[in-house]
Amino acid sequence: MSKKTTFKELIGEISDRTQKSQTFSEHFIRELVSIIEAGLESEGSVTLAGFGKFELRWMNERSGVNPQTGEEITIPGQNKVVFKPYKPLREHVNKPYSQMRSQLLDTSPSTSAGPDGQTGDDSENGEKDEDFSSQKESVRDDPFQLEKEINEEDDIDNWVYERPSPVQSRSKQTGQANKVDSRNSLAVKMDQSEPSGQNRNRNREGFRWSYAALAGILLIAFLALFIVLKPGQDINEPLPEQPAAVTEPESPAVDEAEQQEPAGEAPENDTGFIPVEVEAGQSLWGLAETHLENAYLWPWIYHVNRTQLSNPDLIIAGNELTLPVPANKDRLKEDERMGVANGYLDIYSWYRDTDPANAKYFLWAAGTFNEEVLDQAEGSVNYNDLVFARSR
């Protein structure tokens, strides 16, 4: 059976809510009741906004039987008190079932004696009929199957699409509702708003789809990045802010396969400079990744080869570039860092013409490698960009 609270507990709750004493709350309620009664007596109806309406309804005189003696009696005409809940209350109470809809059946429904529910979207049109074509002829004459015994084949389960119903556990509380459970074909798309007290059922179906969608989107995003990077063309990898992780990809492998690797690496304590001929599909980023062991140093290459290169995103196959290789790849020397910073500065200058809005990021990057470059550049760069770059 469903729950109940005592009047005392109710008073307690109300006292808590209203911050009044229990005595006060009780008195309040009793007074309210007496006014409702008075109102009904004088005017026949009492309204409580947002809750409902108490009404007196007249029942006409009727004949009846005394259950104890069996003799006939006349039940006099009298009023009865009736409560009519208003919409907010109705909707709040019906929340768990709010998503269900009626469903049309074919003219000869083949349901068994107990009424059953089905999944429903609004089926105002006759299209649903196709679902029920498996019904038997014999049922047409006897739609409620009062004569017939329940046959396994007629079992609603066979032709009704079942979905696990969150309603189940709830309705276990009332004996009658178990009939519905066994058929178990009521779909409830619960809205996400607060479920009623005991059972926090959720729509499991919904989660799966959203996970799948998320996975799909991530997959596409990865693929997109992949495709952008793989050809590794002359499109150079952009701003330093972007995560390095995804951008390590193919270029090194490609480079390795195709390049002529000059044998000598730089001697230990000096920056080395190695000549490299650019092959198709390579980028400064990729070259930096391979030879400098750090793709982010690509502006350094740009800087060193400034005379040959104009657009930092575009290197031409066949160019011979000199790659500066750091003495110690894990720890750049001051002047090496200066080189990188200058590279970023050069790029910044380039982008000022083509993409001024984003140019400042390069200036900022320059600053991260070597702050001095910002001071040096003071006279010749955009003031706002400089402020941004310094503000890191």
Partner: protein
């Protein structure tokens, strides 16, 4: 009796401002609604019992569609008046009737 009339009378009886009684009544109603939302029944002495009940799925005939249809289950509020209320109001003739 309208809501505002009710509030007025209540305020007078309790010697409170209308504003305050209104908010108190609102709180009470909200508490009732919450309880009913949680399927908790409650009884108010001399008024009656409020509880919820699930209306079973029903097969009904729709003349418009000329078909039977299944009406989904529904949870409704039930009120049964208390004895004193019932008896007191059985034979009264309210002015509006």
């Amino acid at each position: 009796m309208t809501y505002s009339e009710l509030i007025d009378q209540l305020a007078e009886e309790l010697d409170l401002t209308k504003k305050e009684t209104k908010s108190l009544v609102k709180e009470v109603i909200s508490e009732f609604t919450t309880l009913l939302g949680e399927e908790t029944g409650f009884t108010i002495p001399d008024l009656g019992t409020f509880k919820t009940r699930v209306k079973e799925v029903q097969k009904v005939y729709s003349p418009h569609h000329e078909k039977y249809m299944l009406v989904p289950p529904k949870r409704i509020v039930e009120f049964s008046p208390g004895k004193s209320l019932k008896n007191n109001l059985k034979f009264v003739k309210p002015a509006n009737e």
